[in-house]
């Protein structure tokens, strides 16, 4: 059964001007970092959101369109629906350190993954990128988890001046041959993919596509022959090798294939 369960928002934490963490009055008994829920605003729409914390269930959401704008207008006490968890999450490598690469609103699953890595005693570096210092979300949470935090901003207002993937390369963050875990804008994911293949290190990448059902029957989230909702959203870098649409095309609500901006 997968009917949405409606629960109240118990807390809203503002991370940046456009990103907030929404805490719901719900718990997910079993989930993996990188898995997602379908978050429902009754009467409006429903969208996939990566789990940032399973207990209490939290999601980190950027204001990017009508749905997320509407969510940001909700207050503590508002009712929202959720169903899940869905998809395949990150699988933490037992050997070696972890490097988490996050851009913009891709930070949600990284908070959960960093917490899991910390529990397992895996040495973790988080490379966090954003447009500017004011747009860097959840930095204090990563620090509280004991992760080594590396910041990168497009405008140089904090940390490395430039893209987070360039920071990873130039600051030698892959020298210790970590397993790389990435979530963020697709150009960043493509750069991480290339980096992992070139350096021959393991990597897992969380990909986003327009979704309808969320559980593998409608085919709307097709990435070539892969279903992002069920085979993903987290893929090994090898699985994405040679995937035509990765970094190039997504599908709209009609199913039409469109170039990624």
């Amino acid at each position: 059964m997968s009917l949405p369960e409606t629960v109240r928002i118990t807390e809203i934490r503002r991370e940046t001007r456009s990103i907030s963490t929404f805490v719901l009055d719900a718990e997910i008994a079993q989930s993996e970092p990188g898995q997602f829920i379908m978050l429902w605003l009754p009467g409006l729409d429903e969208k996939p959101m990566s789990i940032a914390c399973p207990s209490p269930l939290s999601v980190v959401v950027d204001r990017v369109g009508p749905f997320t704008m509407a969510l940001h207008e909700r207050r503590v006490g508002s009712l929202v629906g959720w169903r899940g968890p869905y998809g395949r999450g990150f699988r933490l490598a037992e050997e070696g350190p972890a490097l988490l690469v996050s851009g913009g609103c891709g930070v949600g699953p990284m908070v959960y993954l960093a917490a899991r890595a910390s529990e397992q005693g895996i040495p973790t570096t988080v490379a966090l990128g954003a447009r500017s210092t004011a747009a860097l979300p959840c930095a204090s949470e990563f620090q509280a988890l004991g992760a080594n935090l590396v910041l990168a901003t497009d405008d140089g207002s904090d940390g490395y001046h430039g893209y987070v993937t360039d920071a990873v390369r130039e600051l030698g963050l892959i020298d210790a041959r970590p397993t790389v875990y990435a979530c963020g804008p697709e150009p960043m994911l493509v750069a991480v993919h290339r980096l992992c293949l070139e350096a021959r290190i393991g990597g897992q990448i969380s990909v986003e596509r327009y979704m309808k059902c969320g559980f593998g029957i409608c085919g709307q989230c097709a990435l070539d022959g892969l279903l992002v909702c069920q085979d993903g959203p987290v893929f090994d870098v090898q699985e994405l090798d040679g995937v035509r649409d990765f970094g190039h095309a997504h599908r709209s609500a009609t199913g039409r294939r469109l170039p990624l901006r």
């Binding site: 059964m1 997968s2 009917l3 949405p4 409606t6 379908m38 429902w40 009754p42 009467g43 409006l44 729409d45 429903e46 969208k47 009712l79 629906g81 169903r83 979704m211 309808k212 059902c213 559980f215 593998g216 029957i217 409608c218 085919g219 709307q220 097709a222 070539d224 022959g225 279903l227 599908r251 709209s252 609500a253 009609t254 199913g255 039409r256 294939r257």
Partner: protein, 318 residues
């Protein structure tokens, strides 16, 4: 004697001239949007693939949620989202090329909002040369008046069939709705009008589920078509009624989850059997599992082909 090796059991079938390596078909609306995924379904063991229903112009469909598992099956109101006939034509052509070596035919599902519109879309989709065309006159979820215009009225259903037949040389299956007083009467009308075969049933209802905390329907559209295990007995009864009334092949769809369910459909006369919601319960591998279960039944009963038991359901004596 009597022992037949598993792989010697013939579960192939011929549906309106199209040869299916096995009798399972992925039903329209499930994973039928892109050629790569359709090929994946064929490689997972489907005997034929059906596209998502295609219209002349692209349709985004309804907002989410469009489909949910309610406990007895699925409820859906997708809103016939599709990328339009130009894109679908390309997808079908690409799929055909990759499906040919597998010997798996492709069924193009079409719909329109007018009788003449069905003729147009049939003509356009024929350029992609699908093996069969399925004419969806029975979606319960778009504007309510369509339902009454097409699948619920023998005359209108016949007129749609005639217009489609006039615009294509490809064999057509007309997909019927269970939401009628006599599905047999509709079947007779579309066969009389030239339908080469019938697909039955489309989803039941529509039904309605509310979220009682917010008082909103759980589907964004409100009502939605009901499918899955809960509707199977109705589908079996409909298929039996159709098979008794007309003499064309029937693609039986509705709540089929297992080889046992496929056998049941064939016993009431089905030529091939569609699986939709079953993909949700058992994954894409459902086709291979169902075929294995079907062969187990045939071996137990010493049947060598589907013809050995098709349409042999016992009649109640009362």
């Amino acid at each position: 004697m009597g022992h037949v090796e598993h792989d010697k059991l013939d579960i192939s079938t011929t549906l309106c001239g199209a040869r299916l390596p096995n009798a399972t078909v992925i039903a329209s609306g499930i994973l039928g949007l892109t050629h790569e995924v359709m090929v994946r379904v064929a490689k997972a063991g489907a005997g034929a693939v059906t596209t998502k229903s295609c219209s002349l112009n692209p349709r985004p469909g309804y907002p989410n949620p469009v489909v949910l598992d309610w406990g007895g099956g699925l409820i859906n109101a997708v809103g016939l989202s599709n990328p339009g006939v130009e894109v679908m034509t390309e997808e079908i052509q690409a799929a055909k090329e990759l499906l040919a070596p597998l010997g798996v035919p492709i069924i193009a599902s079409i719909f329109a909002d007018t009788i003449y519109g069905f003729g147009n879309i049939a003509r356009f989709i024929s350029e992609a040369s699908p093996d069969l065309i399925e004419v969806n006159i029975s979606c319960p979820n778009i504007d309510h008046r369509y339902q009454h215009m097409f699948a619920a009225d023998p005359y209108v259903a016949g007129q749609v069939t005639r217009h489609v037949k006039r615009n294509t040389d490809i064999p057509i299956l007309v997909k019927l709705s269970p939401n009628v007083t006599s599905i047999a009467a509709i079947a007779e009308a579309v066969v009389e009008a030239g339908a080469d075969g019938i697909t039955a049933i489309n989803s039941l209802g529509p039904g309605l589920i509310l979220d009682i905390e917010t008082r909103h329907p759980v589907l964004a559209h409100g009502p939605g078509g009901v499918s899955g295990p809960a509707v199977r007995p109705i589908a079996v009864r409909c298929v039996q009624a159709i098979c008794r009334a007309v003499d064309v092949p029937v693609l039986a769809v509705g709540g089929v989850m297992s080889g046992r369910d496929v056998v049941e459909m064939i016993l009431v006369g089905a030529t091939a059997v569609g699986i939709g919601t079953g993909v949700h319960y058992r994954g894409i591998d459902v086709f291979r599992q169902v075929c294995r279960e079907l062969r187990d039944y045939m071996r137990r009963h010493e049947y060598r082909s589907l013809d050995d038991f098709r349409g042999t359901a016992a009649m109640p004596s009362l």
